[in-house]
């Protein structure tokens, strides 16, 4: 198929590349003209502007917007809708958009006869080689129409063992690494929850290794203290244990390099989806204590000193005369 890719950062560039490898024609644009030139050198059709891209696409035109969520994506979708899109055209948002923005945009674009598809992707920097795991929202006809695109971007069945019990009724796309999750917004909703889970998984490993790492052990009897090798433990757990996972694979790799992890700051960012997952849960009055706790641990990692902790010290001083005052 022919498709326009808008935004040629790490994700957008690799998506363009993987599509070209799969035989698709790719028209690319980025406000950074070097990125355009670069991809043109790899076989893409460079565009000088959105309207130039429009002229280089078929009808209906298919636009894949791969920009930071929020204003950059919003403005681009608005611009496409205002100046470039004709009835029947398709705008795909492949970024990390908040799912309610998808719901809203799909409604607005539908008034013009433009189809909106939201694609949550997981796979990070590994996607070019491993393929992208995609969760897709939008109307059925449009998602079906785009199938060749998704089929190329997805990992495919590959060497991952097939799931027992999957019967005839199961959607074969899931095994290839993409699903049509539901109406507009569904794709980013599922991806959002994916990230919420990701935070929880990561924090579970982090806490476990924290216990193994050991601190404040001086007061323990000597034979109750251990000196564990983090690299070997992470490696052995990859081998037949219940907690083997891709995140553990990455952990083992990092620990093999330096089990002290000295190059890392330990101040951990979060990207929005974790918080949105909690908000979605609260809209449903569903408890998600692990996901929330995991997010809060990241917040805490970035704060040197909590005001509230000082307040605790002040109260303790008040009722018990406990002194937690630095020299």
């Amino acid at each position: 198929m022919k498709i326009g890719i808008i935004g040629l950062g790490r994700m957008g560039g690799n998506i363009a590349r993987r599509l070209m490898r799969g035989g698709h024609e790719v028209v690319v644009w980025d406000r950074n003209t070097e990125a355009v030139t670069g991809l043109a050198g790899e076989g893409a059709i460079g565009a000088e502007s959105l309207s130039d891209m429009k002229g280089k696409l078929d009808s209906p035109a298919i636009y894949w917007v791969m920009l930071p969520a929020g204003a950059p994506t919003e403005e681009t979708v608005d611009a496409l809708c205002a100046h470039d899109c004709a009835e029947g055209d398709i705008i795909i948002d492949g970024g990390n958009t908040f799912w309610k923005d998808d719901v809203r945009r799909a409604k607005t674009l539908a008034e013009k006869g433009v189809h909106y598809v939201d694609v949550g992707t997981s796979g990070g920097v590994w996607g070019l080689e491993r393929g992208y795991c995609m969760m897709i929202g939008g109307d059925k006809e449009t998602v079906d129409l785009l199938d060749p695109i998704f089929d190329t971007l997805a990992p495919g069945i590959g060497s991952v063992p097939r799931t027992p019990n999957r019967g005839e009724a199961c959607d074969p796309r899931a095994e290839k690494g993409y699903i049509h999750a539901g109406r507009a917004g569904a794709g980013h909703f599922v991806k959002m929850v994916h990230n919420g889970i990701e935070y929880g998984l990561m924090q579970a490993y982090a806490e476990g290794f924290d216990v193994l790492w050991g601190r404040n052990v001086e007061h323990l009897p000597e034979d109750e203290r251990f000196d564990f090798n983090m690299a070997e433990i992470s490696e052995v757990w990859r081998r037949g244990s219940v907690i083997s996972s891709w995140l553990l694979d990455l952990t083992a790799s990092a620990l093999a390099q330096d089990q002290k992890l000295e190059q890392f700051s330990g101040k951990v960012a979060d990207s929005g989806e974790g918080r949105w997952t909690i908000e979605a849960a609260m809209e449903q009055a569903t408890p998600v204590a692990v996901l929330t706790t995991a997010l809060f641990a990241r917040y805490r990692s970035r704060i040197d000193e909590m005001y509230g902790d000082k307040l605790l010290s002040a109260m303790r001083y008040g009722f018990g005369g406990h002194v937690e005052i630095p020299q």
Copy 2:
């Protein structure tokens, strides 16, 4: 009554004083002879040793051990039992002992006919003036026998409004500020849970004030940012709000002095009971997420850098190329 007080720290000394004010005869001992001399100057009978104390007490002898929990208390109880106690004597542990140690000791002492009473006290440095809130474990006869002691130490009804609905069946001692909670260990068990709750209450206030204090607000629209006065807020909440409490009174006092709390380090200690409460809950398979979270916040306050947080950074670098590496 006549009673021996062993351990004349802040708590033991004030307990001796409050008992003397209530007309009791108090024999005191501490390995710090100055403390003994000091209290003797206030009317107590000084003892030079445990056996000297024994000679100065009536029969049955009543010992109130007011020492740090763990080894100091254990050794003193053992010594009393081994050398000083006769059948019918009473040992009271007024410290912060782990309740299972009480269960064990009561059993051991019972074999010698010695009665063991555990008293959890709350009230901290304010006890001399306000009286001590006491939760008592032991056999009924002994606890009843000691009633004059507890009655003196307790706050009494005072100006605290009476609880509606308390009928004839209610134990009048509770209104005066002490209860016989149950068999040996029950007193420290209830006191332990009291402290567990205390941690939870404190953390709830701490988190609320953290939100009011505000951080990372630069990205918010200006009219969504506030500049709250912590001292005024804590004060107003003391006045008719649902969250008024003694801990809030202390908070208001600290904030009135310095709402920035700059003299406090924000590294918050914990004293054992919080952890024991969680262990007791786990023995019953009862979830106590708030109490646990509160304890963990204190742990976290004392750690500069979590190994687990570095691990999160390492994983993020692994799957997304996110760089959380200090310069």
Copy 3:
């Protein structure tokens, strides 16, 4: 002063009554005409409509809207603004409005020269007698102008002991039970955090009493099991303990009536502020694990069966053959 009260439910009716007792003239309206007639019988001036109320107020007119948050309040403020308010008039929202709605409304109303004041009140059904603890947002001039209203509604200094350390610089209003917290929205923001804290405090007590209540204790040695009296414990903690509070007073009263609490369902509602507190914290990347955990415990109390728990069972069956399947 003369003031219109819109909404005569439990809160609005009692606010009208307390204002009349304080010598203010009160014009009342409610879509339930019986409520209007009733208060008119107590001395209020009944209004037949908002425009009738307008005619019965002075200039500038002062409206106190005391309606459920969300649509009822929003529509009333809109209607007042559209049809009734002249420049200089004041609209007070005394309900449980989301603070960002205040920020937005204040801006809109300011364009018409109408002043908007948000008042978060705590004190519940006890406010008529005890007075209302009020957290107020709005511009200084307007809040100052309304001072006689707030002064009457507030508890006043009463018998609550004064806070040590409060110096000359402190705002005397806080001691009477109300504060000007900041610009529009600040009042409801502080009230929101108050409720967030309230959830945390309540859950701390709940968990503590859960541990005391005891469950799954059959496997414990007999001398490690207790049979606690919840009513006596809650009472004794009111007396000189560190965890005394108004919530504990209420607890003691409920437990004195029935320590089994058999009349209560244990399905616990939440009212919005708890969730908003967490959202506000997340906007600041501030961890509030206790407040969140407390909210989630309420969610959980209303769910009979978690889908996620079944998933845990399914996984356990998958890796370990553990059977958690009902007959």
Copy 4:
């Protein structure tokens, strides 16, 4: 090698089988004689008693105890030590023993010159085919001596991709699926933390799927509600996503069979290691909020009605007149 296996339940039986397949001679005993006969039919040497087993083993004798943790294991180790073991013999505890019991036993047995090795195994019912992931504690010489046993039981390198960055210094055993974690107790300590992590991982997935499952969505706008297919989502996440794992594989399999999971009760057991992990963390004053929260979710799943929740209702009734009373 020649080895005695004591306890022929699911785990012990399969370990015996895997060892025989690997060419080892296996002497088996179980108090259930049918289990002995059964394995004898598969090539094992049946023993009629522990002392009979002793006679059938070489010197030094190697015993693998594979019994439930606690009393059954303790009594067997005691019996072996008292009646059967000679200096130089080796007792391996392959069960789920609390690591401090290992520390204690190793010390006791060392006095007799008997070596104690603790082996935490992961892999559950899949171990016979996939091999057992093993974490081993004990003195180096003994663990080295037993290497042929561990090598046979372990999964081996198999098809799991090798970890980048593992250099020359890395222990080759980890890649085969077993490690010598440290002195006695270290094996079960690492296995304990493994299970703690397992609980956290599982709960993260459970919460994510709970949000996808959806509840209380009636109040949401229709286009913000989705009807997700749990089976397809779990499948797609196996394919190139960041959260792929073996637990997700199992989840996908269960959901492919019945995405409603109707056969599962949702009352989830826990096995001790989760709790011990938290206790170990508390001994180090290390926060492990996700692991704890995950354990507490299981506790909660088994409780129909919390006393504490009723207390919340009682408080709410007290301050707000909120009625949470069933008809």
